[in-house]
C-alpha cells in the first residue's frame, strides 16, 4: 500500500492527513491511520476478515460512512483491523459504492498496547480531494 499519513494538531481531538496515489488506497490508508491511533497495529494478526459494503452520495460521505462502519464493527465485535482492501465503483445514479475486506483479530489488551478510544470520525473539515495526481484526505476524530 502506498498511502502515507500523519496526525494533525487539534486542541481537543485528533486529526489525520492521508495521501495516496489512487483513491482506493486513500480509503485504505484512512482506515489504517484510524486503527493506528487505537492500538499498536503492527501487532495485529490477520486471522479474521470482515466484508463491508457501503454506498454514499459523494466521496466525503463515503469516507464518513466507511470509517464509522469500521468503528461500529470494532466496538461491537471487539476487533482491531490492520489490513484493508477497498474497491470503489461509480453507480449509474452518480452515487459511489465501496466494497472492502478488513483483516484483523480480536483486541488483546496485553499485546496490542491500547491507544485512543475513538468515538467517531466527524464531518468537521473532512476533505477528500485530488491534486496533481495525488489523493489526499483530512479527517478529524472525536476522542
Amino acid at each position: 500500500m502506498s498511502a502515507t499519513f500523519h496526525t494533525i494538531e487539534h486542541t481537543a481531538d485528533i486529526g489525520v492527513e492521508v495521501e495516496a496515489a489512487i483513491i482506493t488506497e486513500l480509503y485504505e490508508g484512512a482506515a489504517l491511520a484510524m486503527f493506528s491511533l487505537m492500538a499498536d497495529i503492527s501487532k495485529v494478526r490477520h486471522s479474521e476478515t470482515r466484508h463491508i459494503v457501503l454506498e454514499a452520495s459523494d466521496s466525503v460521505e463515503l469516507m464518513f460512512r466507511w470509517l464509522n462502519e469500521l468503528i461500529y464493527t470494532s466496538d461491537t465485535e471487539g476487533m482491531l483491523f490492520s489490513e484493508f482492501s477497498v474497491k470503489l465503483a461509480m453507480l449509474s445514479d452518480g452515487r459511489m459504492a465501496l466494497e472492502a475486506d478488513a483483516c484483523g483479530e480480536p483486541f488483546d489488551e496485553a499485546r496490542h498496547s491500547p491507544g485512543e478510544e475513538i468515538k467517531a470520525a466527524t464531518y468537521h473539515e473532512m476533505d477528500v480531494s485530488s491534486l496533481d495526481g495525488r489523493w489526499t484526505a483530512r479527517i478529524i476524530f472525536d476522542v
Binding site: 496526525t7 494538531e9 487539534h10 486542541t11 481537543a12 481531538d13 485528533i14 487505537m38 492500538a39 452520495s57 466525503v60 460521505e61 464518513f64 460512512r65 464509522n68 468503528i71 461500529y72 466496538d75 461491537t76 471487539g78 483486541f107 489488551e109 498496547s113 491500547p114 491507544g115 485512543e116 478510544e117 468515538k119 467517531a120 466527524t122 464531518y123 468537521h124 473539515e125 473532512m126 478529524i140 472525536d142 476522542v143
Partner: protein, 487 residues
Amino acid sequence: MDGKPTGTEGLRRLSEYEWELPRDFKPGMRVPGRVFADDELMRLAAGDRALEQVANVAFLPGIVGCSLAMPDIHWGYGFPIGGVAAFDEKDGVVSPGGVGFDISCGVRLALTSLARDEVKPRLASLLADMAANIPRGLGGRGRISTPEKTLRSVFKSGAKAVIEMGYGRAEDLERIEGGGIAPGADPSKVSARAYERGHDQLGSLGSGNHFLEVQYVEKVLKPDVAEAFGLSEGQVVVMLHSGSRGVGHQICTDYLDVMDSVRRRLGMDLPDRQLSCAPLGSREASDYLAALACAANYAVGNRQALMHWTRTAFEKHFGASEQSLGMDLLFDVSHNIARMETHVVDGREATLCVHRKGATASFPAGHPSVPAKYRGIGQPVIIPGDMGTHSYVLVGREESMSLSFGSTCHGAGRVMSRSAAKKKIRGEELRARLEKEGILVMAGKPSLLAEEAPEAYKDVSRVVDVCEGAGLSTKVAMLTPMAVLKG
C-alpha cells in the same frame, strides 16, 4: 482597540468579560457571536479555530440572540466546545453537531461524611478497589448486561431504571437534572446498531478525559450555599465524569446521516457539514430529539451504576453502609445536550431548543427545572478541572438566564493537543510528581496520563472566576483531588 490579544481582530469588546463577533466577522452569520472571556482566555480561544466555530454556528436557521461561547471555549467539531445556541421552535433547527457524539456526557458529585485524614491512610487500597470495580479503558465492557427489553427501559427511564435494578437509592433521582429521566425518549427511534453497542456497555467509564476522582473540599467560597449543598471544608467527595458510551456515538453517527440528507434536500448552505441539521417540528428533528433523550437516559443510568460501585468500594473500606458514610448524591449534570426549554426572549416567553456543547445548565433559585431540594438555592453546577489542580462546585445564577440561556462553563477546557501533551510530558514522571503532591493516579496506560496532564488544560480557577465575573454562575466550593482513576 489597543492591546487586544492576537487573533481578535474584528471582535468588539463589550465589557471586561464579554466579546462580540459582529455579523461581518464571517459573511453569512444570521446573528452576532458572543464569547465570555478575559484577556488571557480570549488569547487562548483566538489561538485555535474556536472563534470561527462560534461564527459558523451563527449561520444556522432560527438561531435566537447570539451564538455563545463559555470561558472554557476551544476548538471542537461543528460547535466549538463551550458553545451554546438556542433555536426558536417555529423556525429553528436541531443539530447533532451541537451536542456531539458523546451525548449527555456529564459529571456527578457524591458527598461523604468522611474527613480527608480518615480517607488518606486507606487511599491506595480504596483506589485499587475502585479500579477493580469499575470497567474502563478501550474496549471496556460494562458489568451490567442489558438485553433488549432492559435496554429499552434504560432508554425510556434512565437512572430510575438503573436504580430499580438495584444500583442506588430512590432518592438519588431527586438530585439528578430532570429527575434522572430525559423527557420524550422513544426507544423505537434508536437504531438496531445503537442497541447492539449499548447492550454490554452500561456501567463502564470509557477512556479519554473520563475519570473518577476522590477529592476533598479545600475551600468553601460561599458558606450559605455550601451548607445547603452539604459541603464543608476538609470533607471527602467523589466526582465522576462519563457519558453515553457507544450508544451516544452511534445515535449521533446515525442522525448525522439523516441530517446530511435533510441539508441536501433543503439546499442548506452551511460552513461545516458537521452542523447539518433539521427544522424543529420535522420528522427528522423529532426523531433525533427522541433518540437523543434515550442516549441521555443511558448516560445518566451509566453514571448511576458507576456511582453505585464507588459506594460499594467505600463500604468495603470503611466497614459501614454508604448511607451511614453520608454518600448522598449532590447532583448530576450533563454538558453535551440539546433540549426544549422555556426562555424569555424580547420580553415574551418562548420555547427554544437549547444546545449545550461542553456547557452546563446554570439555572437560578426559583427556576422550575431546578429539583425541589435545591429550588430555593439554585442549581448545583459541577465543574471538573484537571487531575493536578482543582475542580469546583458552582451555583446557577439569575443573570445567566438573560446572558446565556441559563448556561455556564463545563470544565477547564483543553489548551494543548493530545499529541503535543504526549511529546512534552512523560506519563510516569507526571504520576511521580502528582504522588509527591499527595495525589494518587491510576490509568490504563501512562500515555493517557500525559494527554490528560494539568498542563494540557487551561487554568480552571481562571475559567470559573470569569464565569462568576460575567454573571453566569457563582463559586461555592473549591475541590482538590486525592485519588484519580482514568480509563
